[in-house]
Symmetry: C2
């Protein structure tokens, strides 16, 4: 396919990078060893999206529920998130980390990026990273913290209020569910599933999703 001839590209893509543990088992490793192999794929995807002119990307890092997993796994995905941000700080992006940073499960190295957008280099793309995120936490956050704001714009009361509506969500690892990924920004998102596990990411996965997306009829219910 000729990726330069797409009729329409999404402004904002959500990424659910699932399958790290299953990939590890398939590659004779312990489950927790899979997460570090999920970092490079993220940067390959970032480069491909920059080249295409995508304006915003949101990555699902880990959730509050995920931290109920064995400690060795929790430590491994926390470390992978920190390593990814350190690597991104040498690139060109505007980073916003969204998650419950009041909890000890939120990596302290990421506190400078929590709930405020930080600019790296030329800031060519907005990158949102969900770290110790929970849909329930997000919706209960009420940033304004004022009861008389209750009936105003719903988005403004979210912890994720600076993350825009998502056009396309791509999930790796074959599962067909959102798993709590930004429920309000996802209400009209088109949802594309890649069966391969995330560490096996190839640029063609993205192109395949974009090729499918360009032919979707976007109505927003109208």
């Amino acid at each position: 396919m000729n990726i330069n001839k797409l009729k329409r590209i999404p402004s904002h893509i959500g990424i659910i990078p699932d399958g790290n543990r299953r990939w590890a088992l398939n590659n004779n490793k312990d489950k927790h060893e899979g997460y570090e192999f999920g970092i490079d794929p993220g940067f390959k995807l970032y480069e491909a999206c920059l080249a295409l002119g995508i304006r915003e990307l949101t990555f699902y890092g880990f959730t509050i529920d995920n931290t109920k997993r064995p400690a060795v796994q929790t430590k491994a995905f926390q470390k992978a998130c920190v390593d990814a941000v350190m690597k991104l700080s040498n690139k060109d992006a505007n980073l916003l980390v969204v998650g419950n940073s009041d909890s000890p499960l939120f990596p302290k190295e990421l506190l400078p990026y929590a709930n405020r957008r930080v600019h790296f280099g030329e800031g060519l793309i907005n990158i949102n990273f969900l770290v110790n995120y929970g849909w329930n936490w997000d919706l209960s956050y009420n940033k304004k913290n004022s009861s008389n704001k209750k009936t105003s714009n719903l988005f403004s009361s979210l912890a994720s209020s600076d993350i825009s509506r998502i056009d396309l969500i791509i999930r790796w690892g074959g599962r067909r569910r959102l798993s709590g990924f930004l429920p309000l920004q996802s209400v009209y998102s088109d949802f594309y599933i890649i069966d391969d596990y995330w560490p096996d990411f190839r640029e063609e996965h993205l192109f395949e999703a974009l090729n499918w997306y360009q032919d979707q009829d976007i109505t927003l219910g109208g």
Copy 2:
């Protein structure tokens, strides 16, 4: 496939019966004529779910956004919703209609069923029907209407608070999106797409979805 040997069935299935207008065009009818052909499929599905022991079904009727469509279409899907409820009132089900019943776009014939569960016959299954529903309306509803309840259970503040979490969502008509369907009840739902249009419903579609669902690994993020 032997539908009696399913390892696991969902308690609650969400139904997005899309493609009525496209079906009408394919069958030499005007778009709005498609909706009435969506009623019988709903009852075929209802019978099949009763036989399987499914406990709860939620049907996407129409949304507040849908009413921006041409008046002839809006009238047609409003009528189809009313006709479906009248037909259901002769069956065995506990019906709950959820939607903005304060609006003139809410069919007045359905007011007796709005936001309270009504029992028909032997009440063998809970049926929820979204009529003039909006995700934004649902989340802004705040049934308790009390500011000091803000941080308690999120679900209790929804207009749809009596609709339980959904295990499996089946969408007809090929589109891979939720289109605002109960965003909080859908956070962990598995999502199955049927390419056929809803009026072409066959029992096999349901069986195909259930056959797929039984092999999904349900983790709820853990």
